[in-house]
Amino acid sequence: MGNQNLIERTCKQTPFYDLCIWSLKSNPESRDASVKKLAQIMVDSLKTKATETLDLIDELLQDGLALDPEMQKALTSCAERYNVIIRGDVPEINEALKTGDYKFAAKGANDAAIEANSCEIEFPTKSPLTDMNKVVHDVSVVAASIVKIIQTKFSF
């Protein structure tokens, strides 16, 4: 209850208020969390969503025979990007948050949004990943917004 205020104030400063509220409140650790911890929770959410998306991509690629070459090419590229989100961006953001070099947290979060966007536009026709790409993109953007709040907030 006590931290409701901080969560709401924080999420108001992100472009996806509902997504932010939902992601944070559904994690019990947000109860007494500092803004930095809220950022970390958001990154965990990013990792979860990205992993789910990669799992789906892998499944779709398994159906290899059913796929046309363009779709296969796009999915393979998406798999690469999602691997980078999970194994590159997420650890980068976490290390930056832990050590307080926030520009690298922002960089990692912004990059995750780019990777999700870039994956989406690889599909020449209908993308099978639209909803998931959008979630990953939006969660990344929210994480980047929270990092900005940490960077510019008063007091430490």
């Binding site: 980078v84 590159g88 650890p91 307080g100 070099d101 520009k103 960089k107 966007n117 870039s118 900005k148």
Partner: protein
């Protein structure tokens, strides 16, 4: 009327061809498909784009509204949207919606990626690099240390890399100088600086991120002062020597400078930090680099600028053409304070006066104070640091050049970041307000054959190809003469609100600009990077000149930065306009007016690689003819490699 600008994508209704004789007509089917696809993507990302209010910098910057979060959140989406060429150019908004009308090329095959590696810029053999650290000259060798991730092509697990050179150009890699092996730097062996003591010994101060993630300052020194290569380093056993003082956050205390002598004979350093949103520089005095007294006052502070990283503080001569040793003070000497702003990731400097007695500094011009005025470089350039080169009596500037592509591409190619070519830095006597940066003269030793072009006339609205063999490793020095009559006749307007970043790039035609060079451009100008001047005349008749670098069509890829960089450049009466450009694969460093305004840019073409790269002169102004004289040299590789038989 056939006012041709071949820089503009010619729509199918306009059958005109450019001067190279090739029509740049777009086939109708592509327009249809791109509009369809554009509308599809509109539906997907409408929510994002509605909120996007204006052009912002690539990574987390919003220069118009500092601290505005909504716009920051969408700047990455901005990468998908090329800068509109505008109605004046006869191109409708819709057809340029997402890709400028073309379907995205499949990104990043090995050919494109391996081309990106530079030939004569310092970079490690692989993985991630960031800030330059502890540069110095010692026993015949120039040393460079740098932030390095030994495990990946993204930032993290930072340790100190090391390389040496006899000439600041030909580098030899050495083993890592320092690893993250103590509790006080376990989470990162971060940036630091070297000081050479009276007896010639070296001390290194650097920031460590402790096991708890607290930023502290540590002392290290060479294990063997007789080893000119300074391969091994020892950390002071009772580190840290400084911890965050009261009132300073544990994550707001980093990047100690080179020390300078006070009139009392003590060593003095400064360390950047912040208090709330005010960027500050703390000051400490020491006799032994182990015990410190913090001064009550700050070296300087500027509200609203946020955390100051990589602070640098050094003297420059108002009269001489050489650099000054860091402790020099006196008449004819000004001091520069520089800070890297964490909030917008740009390096800012200001020139002012240092008071040794109380350890404070004030800017000559408070309206262009640190963080709100001049930048070293208007492109991608950060964490810069100078050192005094006692070998050649010059002050040399290093700067970290990051990537502006996606991290996925970095991981795929196996590396990320380069260092700029080291630059000499001098007070600009002519303007009195700027510093001049220029590539160190040793770079000239890489010049192979050169070709001269004299008095090439570039009429308004034209592109002139320059016939040189290869165009991926070049040193270009160009001078532009403009018709002073045309300048007088031009009508002044409220066009005086021009800004490179918010303009339509090289395709936006003005009366007196843009004109300059197209580098990393192919014959059909499908990909091109213009580096150019754009002049404006205010309603008061005053001329202003801008120096810009336009990335908006530098690549067909959609996941690279497409913003336009640049700034005002002071041009004095009687000066011709001059540009020097170093082209080295995926990096271009451009110097306007002898280095008064500098722009570094990363370029990631999908087509203009290897032999497809060309150089052109262009003049897209409507009322100005321009004459250019230039010299272009092919540049050799610097053959940067591991030190042999170590």
């Amino acid at each position: 009327m056939a006012d041709i600008s071949p820089l503009l994508p010619v729509s199918s209704s306009d059958g005109s061809s450019d001067l190279t004789g090739q029509a740049t007509c777009r086939r109708p089917i592509k327009v249809v498909v791109s509009i369809f696809f554009g509308l599809l993507t509109v539906g997907l990302f409408a929510a994002l784009l509605i909120r996007n209010n204006g052009s912002v910098d690539y990574v987390d910057v919003h220069e118009n509204e500092r601290g505005s979060l909504a716009s920051m959140a969408f700047e990455k989406a901005e990468n998908l949207k090329p800068v509109s060429r505008g109605l004046a150019a006869g191109v409708s908004e819709k057809s340029n919606w997402v890709f400028g009308g073309d379907l995205p090329d499949y990104p990043w095959n090995n050919s494109m990626l391996s081309w990106q590696r530079t030939a004569f810029h310092f970079q490690p053999e692989k993985n991630w690099m960031n800030d330059p650290n502890g540069p110095l000259f010692y026993k015949g060798w120039y040393h460079l240390f740098y932030q390095y991730n030994p495990n990946a092509a993204v930032w993290g697990h930072i340790v100190w890399g090391h390389a040496v050179s006899k000439d600041l150009i030909h580098w030899l890699h050495l083993p890592l100088a320092m690893a993250a092996d103590q509790w006080y730097d376990k989470n990162g062996v971060w940036t630091g600086s070297a000081t050479i003591l009276h007896d010639g010994k070296i001390v290194m101060l650097y920031t460590g991120s402790t096991t708890e993630g607290v930023q502290v300052q540590n002392l290290a020194y060479p294990a063997d002062q007789y080893d000119p290569l300074l391969v091994h380093w020892v950390k002071y056993p009772r580190n840290p020597v400084l911890v965050p003082p009261p009132g300073i956050g544990p994550n707001d205390f980093r990047d100690p400078t080179t020390a300078w002598l006070t009139s009392e004979g003590k060593w003095r350093i400064t360390i950047g930090s912040k208090i709330n949103k005010t960027g500050i520089a703390l000051v400490y005095d020491t006799k032994d680099f182990i015990n410190y007294e913090m001064l009550d006052g700050l070296l300087h502070a500027v509200p609203g600028t946020g955390m100051w990283e990589c602070v640098d503080f050094f003297p420059v001569s108002e009269t001489e053409n050489n650099g000054l040793e860091t402790s020099i003070n006196g008449p004819g000497v000004k001091h520069v304070v520089k800070a890297s702003l964490d909030d917008d990731r740009h390096d800012y400097y200001a020139i002012g006066t240092y008071n040794d007695r109380n350890g404070t500094w004030i800017p000559d011009r408070p309206n262009i104070d640190v963080g709100i005025g001049l930048r070293y470089d208007y492109g991608i350039y950060y964490a810069a640091k100078t050192f005094y080169d006692q070998n050649k009596k010059r002050r040399v500037l290093w700067g970290w050049i990051g990537e502006s592509d996606s991290e996925a591409a970095d991981v795929k190619k196996g590396w990320a970041s380069v260092q700029s070519i080291p630059r000499t830095i001098l007070f600009d006597k002519k303007t009195g307000t700027h510093l001049l940066q220029w590539p160190v003269e040793e770079i000239d030793s890489l010049r192979l054959k050169g070709k001269e072009f004299n008095q090439v006339r570039i009429q308004a609205g034209s592109v002139v190809p320059l016939d040189i063999d290869s165009a991926t490793q070049l040193d270009i020095i160009a001078e532009f003469k403009i018709d002073s009559d045309a300048l007088e006749k031009a009508t002044g307007s409220s066009d005086a609100s021009f800004d490179c970043a918010t303009s339509g790039g090289a395709a936006e035609r003005g009366a007196l600009g843009p004109f300059g060079l197209l580098v990393l451009a192919d014959e059909r100008l499908r990909e091109q990077t213009p580096v150019y001047f754009y002049m404006t005349k205010g309603s008061d008749g005053n001329l202003k000149t801008f120096f810009c670098n336009d990335q908006s069509r530098s690549s067909k890829a959609s996941d690279v930065d497409k913003h336009i960089y640049g700034s005002l450049v002071p041009v004095l009466r009687g000066e011709n306009l001059s540009i020097r450009i170093l082209v080295d694969h995926s990096i271009i460093e451009s110097f306007g007016q002898g280095g008064r305004t500098v722009i570094t840019s990363r370029v990631y073409p999908t087509k203009v690689i290897y032999g497809a790269a060309k150089v052109f002169l262009f003049n897209n102004a409507t009322e100005l003819n321009v004459t250019a004289s230039l010299k272009i040299w092919q540049m050799n590789s610097a053959f940067i490699q591991p030190y042999p038989n170590l």
